[in-house]
Amino acid sequence: MSDLVTLTIDGQQIQTAPNTLLVEAAAQLGILVPVYCYHPKLAPIGACRMCLVEIEGMPKLTPSCTTPVKEGMVVHTQNARVEKARRGMLEFLLIHHPLDCPVCDKGGECPLQDYTYEFGPRKTRFRYPKRHWDKPLQIGKNILLDRERCIMCLRCVRFCEEISDHQQIGVFERGHSQCIGTVPGHSFDSQFSGNTIELCPVGALTGAPTRFFGRTWEIQHTPSICTGCAAGCNIRIDHRQQRDVVRLWSRENKHTDDGWLCDRGRFGYEFVNQDRLKDFKILQDGQLVDATTQQATVKAASILSKHANSGSLGVLASPILTNEELYAVEWLTRSVLQTSSIDHTASAVNPQAVQLHSVVREAGFRSGVLTDIDEAAQIVTIGVDLSNDQPITELRVKKALFQRKAQLVSLYPETIELGRYTEHNLIYEPGQEASVVASLAAAVRSGGGEGVVGQAARLLSSEAPKAVIVGWKLQGLSDFSALAKALGELASALGPDVPCITIYPNCNTRGALDLGITPGWLPGGVAATGSSESGMTGIQILEAARDGRLKALWVVGAEPLLEADPELVKAALANVEFIYQGWSLRDVPVDPDVVLANVTFAEQAGTFTNTDGRVQRIYPAVKPHGRSRPGWQIVADLGRALGKTWEATSDQEVFEQIRQAVPAYSQIKWSEVGTLGVQSGASAPPAMAGATG
């Protein structure tokens, strides 16, 4: 306790860690010090002067956002002198502010409004014309700038300098005509640009896609999980009276997103609002017509039962379905329909069913989690371009590089965004992955060597804590077993207990793998044996359907269809009896025989498992469109129609069954998942045994 600092703020004593800023110490006591330029994730600059406080013994008022605590300090945040300064500062900020709150998207959740209401002057004393700028300016695809509202806190510019290092916006001019603008010749198209909307304490930066989404007092918030990639970023779904999703907002979870959100996730919610299936449908005389739930279910069940147990049925389930839905699909496919051809992807990158996270564990790495990056001094990325594959994790790596001067070794066929920050770019011909990893392992073991590999190896042969990140694209290698062997060599060369994080493509790919939505693997990562061993992978299913070897397809969610060659998909779907279960027909090129209306993630409860195995809950935000239903309920109905009853009446009950089936989830208590999720345990199934189709 001796290294804590004791000080007094407004008569209350507090002990806090040294180097804590005064504004943070005050917050620990529950004392509100208004701030604009201060943000806990950005370096302090002390520009807005809102947070001035009085420290006894100091002649001037002191900005609390730049002053660290000192032993014995006596601070006043609420006396007349401080309050006058605050009022004065707000008056300065407001003299040129347009006060167009009624049409401002920030109105209602605006710190400038809130502090003006709490501390500010009631009337203006400024009698002159205000500053005018053209507005709004579209400075990027997703960002609108209103310079009149800007208070020059520079949070946006600092975010682009310190966090994303996409320096596309900056400050121009000086003094009273100072303004934010884009760097000449560039627009603000950083894939993290949306974060500046959240950072902006006024309505100067607003989202173009969410412009005039509604007023904040009409908006309800529901915690959820982003479905954009496998990072599992926590989000807040903002919706109007449970009707439309109007906006996604970040929700900090240090295990996944660290408080940020990429634009792909932030603005990628349109599929929830548009082109939605409202009714179950059946194909009649070449026309899709609305049908009752009963009619459609019976028809689908009859198709499924016709092809059950005969090897002529294929099942594709989207990796953005919830664990509960995937578990239900797996149950019906394997247990009821006795079918082993089931997959979550039809991408050519996954021709063989591999559990990458198990492969790296077998190779000798520790199962890594994203927060391992925060501890590492050396980061090795293998076969992954994080700015495409998982943008938020790229920010986490950048944080390690910028704030802790961590070093990076990148293995990828081309220069990646993160390659800017390292000399150790090991660029190779696609297909050479195994040999590059093996040569790096050999060089690390010998402590160096020639060329780029040698330099990287010299770096990695030190004792510094390391983290390895491997990408899902490696799964597609034809010599996968060679790569697995090379990873094993690398693991032993880097030393014990090096965490390895596997990057998967979709928000629930990891869940799909854990739940057996892949041929040759049963729930829990148990290798299939016997008759179910010989299932086809996604791309094989489509090819077999095209060639007439499969007679029926059950597709749940259209994502697998988008990954394959469109011609193949068209030919395959036209050639079989086709049951489609999903939320939109937009991506389905052939009219299905039966359409079952599924809800999206925004309308149901359930869980997702992110790339490092963290199980996180989603909550229903908006009402289901029309008669659409959660997938596991549709599947339960199909089961009943096929004469098999599945005992589950709530998502919690389904999850309990998943816990029984998947050892890695067995320790997870439903009540503890909450809004921030729980890490699933590391079960130890074999990694490569079993069929590869």
């Binding site: 302090p44 600059i45 002390g46 520009a47 807005c48 002067r49 809102m50 001035l52 002649p59 001037k60 008022l61 730049t66 006058k84 300064a85 004065g88 500062m89 008056e91 300065f92 900020l93 003299i95 040129h96 004393r125 400024f126 002159y128 208070i151 020059m152 400050v171 001019e173 000086r174 003094g175 009273h176 005509s177 100072q178």
Partner: protein, 425 residues
Amino acid sequence: MANEIVFSRNHIDNVKDLDVYVGNGGYSSLQKGLTMAPDELIELVKASGLRGRGGAGFPTGMKWSFVPKDTSKPHYLVCNADESEPGTFKDRQLMEVNPHQLLEGMILACHAIGAKTGFIYIRGEFVGPIQIVSRAIEQAYARGYLGKNIQGTGVDVDLAVHPGAGAYIWGEESALLNSLEGQRGLPRLKPPFPAVSGLYASPTIINNVETLANISHIVNNGADWFKQWGTERSAGTKVVSISGHVNRPGNYEVPLATPMMTLINEFAGGVRDGHKLKAVIPGGSSVPILPAEKCDINYDYESIQAAGSMLGSAGMIVMDETTCMVGVARNLVHFYRHESCGKCTPCREGTDWMFKILNELELTGGQMDDIDLLLDITDNMDGKCFCPLGDTSIMSVVSGIEHWRHEFEEHVRNGGCQQRAQNGH
């Protein structure tokens, strides 16, 4: 008794040429100074009582001693020649007439603080001084006064000129460092102070031109010689730039504690004919204005402070009774409004608002409440700005209203400035 130290060679024809300078005792301090231990040199400057001549008046030796001894980083010396204060024009003459004196001082200062590199950051508008100092550096390199092993003493010093790009704020030392690094010239957070983490995050000392020009003389003649001028706490001489309503405006090097009226009446030849003194800005535009009745003081740091103003950078602006004090405030606030960097709220918005009010007072009169509103705005800015620019921008307004409130009120009553109307503006 004038022109004793930094102007002592100004009368020599073409002293900016190296040969002439050396022929008149120039660079003679190097042998002595560079063979002294750096600590000895710092102690010598401390003992001389030399205070920074840029405006703040911080003891120079003390500043040098703040440089950490145990860093692996390089040390830097930066000469602040970004002289932009309205009313101050001494550094320009020091560089134009006698650039080698500055270089000599910088070489010694570099040795004292352990710096191998020094930068002379010259205001971009000073095209002449930039050329002259650059030429002097070339000459000094050619003759071995700069570069490796200066005059066989084993000391290496490199100097370079960096022209500014036109902003008053770069006279603020941390903004100057940002500008020198190629960044936007905004003031930095302190601490860390530049002596610990300055240019390129390395220990850096920033001194004014006049401060550095004094060094060679102190080394040559000793601390006691230097202290024969001035007072105990304001030692040495000071170049005072006198401008305004006087008969002979110009730079005058005088011992500190010379009576201010002597400066005006003897050196500057008195207030212009037929007029009498109304007010003096004693230390450049950033200090409060003194009314004539308070001008009977000695010109040193302490006396001026006691009278309610500051010596600052010694840019003395003399005003006679024809001067409109609202106009003065308007003029100066216009300057600060234009030069505010915009980083902090009170300076960015406060200077703009003050100018709008003063402009209205001057042109159309405004309202009687505006005078108290002005005072309230200055109170909201005072001590709350990020750097001294904002804090000092209010000086002319505060002291103007304090001493000449009736003039502000007349402006309101008359619907603007009578003088301006008479002069047909």
